[in-house]
């Protein structure tokens, strides 16, 4: 920067040019990300071309999936990997002669939102993970196929039965939007507390059935320099597993429904909610949390727990698979239902259980018959076993795993817990229906765990979130009955 800038007012000085372009940049740069997201393509009509993909229907092929057609499968490649889907696709190709294009990704939204907007979505999607496209959002846009046709088709294993009658009861519920099943939540998950069988044996602790017993172990652990409860604080979703379970077990299924159905007394004025949150707050107040756990990510926190730095952690049953590499071989991972407060309406064995990992068929899928047939086969014993083998988790198919498959200790303990629970399972539906309300409740929980608010304020905030959601006329259509 040295020489002249102005020569008799003609032309643009170099420095001015730099400044102006910089100013333009200031305007343009932050806008860029928004723009690329906003600029959608121009609609475009349906592209399913029945002529190309519709073959002859038969007993083994009720939808008439056509030999030689192509199937576009997009799978969330997260905790479960995507090897299971590749195994399915290989089998699909072998049995029906349909070749699949496989995409395994974590960026579901980034990859698929433009395609949904442009009207050329894939044929089958595992819409999961942190970047999933929310099911409620897709549904409201009319982008999802009503899956009843698949569910009412004959089962692969026993053609005398409908597919929907071979599934664990209640597992279709979270995929329901306004009364229609639009997402198949394929993986059967249980939520609760987890502990190391080895650590408990060493310390002489027995898995607690009551909240007092739980606190006693936490206190004993603290004396020995081990944290009591760990949670994945950076994602308040996880501590909500514990909080909302306490509320459900104390108040019974009515407490669950009150929240899902946006009752004006869901939190403030609900004894169960008050008892539940006060119980969790006791852990905070008595200093029984693993130090620093409020700010740790899920992997950091779970790995600390694997290193015996905490007695308990809250999580769903994907935990074992997710921590595969960090778990010591003799760790002996075990599942524990949330311990009971006195006067609880549900028994100790009751657990939050249900299906997760929503698979969807876009309404505008190019190969609808192929996608439907693929989904029907996912609910066969053969493919369910393939899944258990590749992803080490259970599916919603009843007795869906060949007894020959040996499960790891954590998964085995969830199978036992699920058997013990029997029909005593529950599931909140509000997170699938109301993302914004869920966020507000998680936010309140984060503040409570950091001791910045008290249970009374937590109840108020949650109730405010519920009341706000209830004002949205669209929420009247969602009913947990």
């Amino acid at each position: 920067m040295g020489s002249t800038a102005h020569q008799g007012g003609e032309g643009v000085g170099r420095r001015d040019l730099i400044k102006r372009s910089a100013a333009l940049g200031l305007v343009a740069a932050p806008g860029m990300s928004l723009l690329s997201a906003c600029a959608s393509g121009g609609g475009g009509g349906s592209n399913n071309d029945e002529g190309n993909t519709k073959g002859k229907a038969s007993k083994d092929n009720p939808f008439g999936a056509k030999n030689g057609s192509k199937l576009d499968v997009v799978v969330f490649k997260g905790g479960y990997g995507d090897d299971y889907a590749k195994a399915w696709e290989a089998d699909f190709g072998k049995k029906l002669g349909i070749t699949s294009t496989h995409t395994g990704t974590q960026e579901i939204t980034g990859k698929l939102q433009p395609r949904f907007n442009a009207g050329n979505p894939p044929d089958l999607v595992d819409d999961s993970g942190a970047q999933q496209i929310k099911i409620d959002v897709l549904y409201k846009n009319g982008s999802l196929l009503d899956l009843s046709e698949v569910l009412d088709a004959p089962s692969v294993d026993d053609p005398s039965k409908k597919v929907r009658d071979t599934l664990i009861p209640g597992t279709l519920d979270p995929g329901i939007q306004e009364g229609k099943v639009v997402a198949l939540n394929y993986i059967y998950t249980v939520w609760g507390l987890w502990y190391s069988g080895k650590l408990f044996k060493e310390k002489g602790w027995t898995p607690p059935k009551t909240w007092d017993g739980f606190l006693t172990i936490c206190q004993d652990a603290k004396k020995q320099g081990i944290g009591g409860l760990a949670h994945q604080g950076k994602y308040p979703y996880y501590i909500n597993v514990a909080i909302m379970d306490m509320i459900a077990k104390k108040g019974g299924i009515d407490a669950v429904k009150a929240i899902d159905n946006l009752d004006p007394k869901a939190f403030v004025g609900s004894d169960a909610a008050q008892a539940g949150i006060e119980a969790i707050y006791e852990v905070v107040e008595k200093g029984l949390l693993m130090p620093g756990t409020n700010g740790l990510t899920h992997t950091e926190s779970q790995t600390r727990w694997n290193q015996y730095k905490a007695a308990f952690i809250t999580c769903g049953s994907w935990l074992e698979n997710e921590q595969l590499k960090q778990t010591p071989t003799d760790f002996d991972m075990k599942f524990l239902p949330m311990p009971l407060l006195s006067g609880s309406k549900m028994p100790f064995e009751a657990i939050r259980a249900g299906s997760g990992e929503p698979f969807i068929i876009p309404a505008k899928a190019a190969n609808l018959p192929g996608a439907k047939e693929f989904m029907r086969r996912m609910l066969s014993k053969e493919w369910s076993t393939l899944f258990a083998k590749e992803a080490n988790s259970l599916t919603i198919l009843q007795d869906g795993v060949d007894p020959g498959v040996k499960l790891r200790p954590g998964t085995q303990s969830t199978v036992e817990a699920s058997k013990a629970a029997g029909s005593n399972t529950f599931r909140y539906l509000y997170p699938d229906w109301y993302s914004e309300m869920d966020t507000a409740i998680q936010n309140a929980s984060n503040e409570l765990m950091a001791k910045r608010i008290q249970p009374k304020e937590w109840l108020k905030r949650c109730q405010a979130a519920v009341d706000k959601q209830a004002k949205d006329p669209a929420s009247k259509k969602n009913v947990h009955s």
Partner: protein, 311 residues
């Protein structure tokens, strides 16, 4: 200008201007269009709602708070980064002991110049990983680990840096400034080297000390470069999306916690756009962001306008 020159210039500008119109200006217009609808983001079905989104925006505490956070970033990030970079650049170029031979930097200034530039080569994602390790909320974090070792922090109650409402913004700023200083140091150094030595030497002969030569000579002659730096740092401060979304407590998606204390406009916008499915509403936020940045850049250029010294 000579005859035909305009046509010649226009010929060259045609393609870039067309690209700019298609890929920058047209999407802005589209965004404004969407901001008047209840678009949910996943299909082309939506209805016109007029200015409802804008009305809602001014009652949205989270968004208003996010604007405030951006303003704080906008004040502190440029000021601190530029001051530090200027100080270091001055020390490297003209801060050494004055000797008879003239003006020079402190000993080892060449090495410092390279070392200071290191952080600039890191991508934002790596910066986030690095500072997540610094601020980690248990004894495994760099800060907590050190503070526990020297006994300032109780091992049972480590500081949750990024989960403290009053700390989180500053923690993010430290990361940004740490990364930015090196670049502006090099920028200012280059500009300083083009300041003729004799000006300094004359000042030295007149008995000017370091402070005087900095404030009377260096700073005025660097003003244009400082102004450019200010605009670039303004861009950083208006964005902050990557660091907020990958370092702070999760508020549904895209960080922003605790209790929205670190949310910036871009994270709130993306959360509404993708996670809540309120895309039309998010587009209204985008339009507000555009207006704010426009106002900002005009103000910045006006406010820093000075008379030029030619040399």
């Amino acid at each position: 200008m000579r005859k035909g020159q305009y046509r010649f210039v226009a010929g060259f500008l045609l393609v870039p201007v067309a690209l700019y119109l298609i890929f920058v200006i047209w999407p802005y217009i589209q965004t404004f269009g969407y901001s008047l609808t209840d678009w949910k983001g996943q299909s082309q079905t939506f209805s016109f709602v007029g200015l409802d989104n804008y009305k809602a925006l001014f009652q949205d505490d989270v968004f208003l708070e996010a604007i405030w956070h951006n303003i704080q970033f906008l004040i502190f990030i440029p000021v601190i980064t530029i001051l530090l970079a200027l100080f270091f650049a001055f020390m490297l170029n003209a801060g050494g002991r004055s000797r008879a031979g003239g003006v020079q930097g402190v000993a080892g200034s060449k090495i410092y110049k390279i070392v200071y530039f290191f952080p600039q080569v890191l991508s934002l994602a790596i910066l986030a990983v690095l500072f997540n390790a610094v601020y980690r909320s248990d004894g495994g974090g760099l800060l907590n680990g050190a503070l526990i070792k020297i006994g300032l922090v109780d091992a049972d109650n480590p500081v949750e840096w990024l989960n403290e409402p009053n700390v989180v913004l500053w923690a993010l700023m430290v990361a940004v400034i740490w990364q930015g200083v090196g670049f502006y140091l090099v920028l200012f150094s280059a500009a300083m080297q083009s300041i003729p030595r004799d000006i300094y030497e004359a000042a030295l002969i007149d008995g000017a000390n370091r402070n005087q030569s900095f404030f009377r000579i260096t700073l005025p002659l660097l003003w244009d470069t400082v102004q450019t730096a200010w605009v670039y740092l303004g861009i950083v401060a208006m964005d902050m999306f990557v660091l907020v979304s990958s370092m702070t407590q999760n508020m549904g998606a895209y960080g922003g916690g605790p209790d929205h204390h670190s949310d910036v406009m871009s994270t709130v916008m993306m959360r509404n756009f993708l996670y809540y499915g309120k895309s039309g509403y998010a587009c209204a936020m985008g339009v507000v962001m555009l207006l704010l940045t426009l106002v900002l850049s005009v103000v910045t250029l006006r406010a820093t306008r000075r008379e030029r010294i030619e040399f």
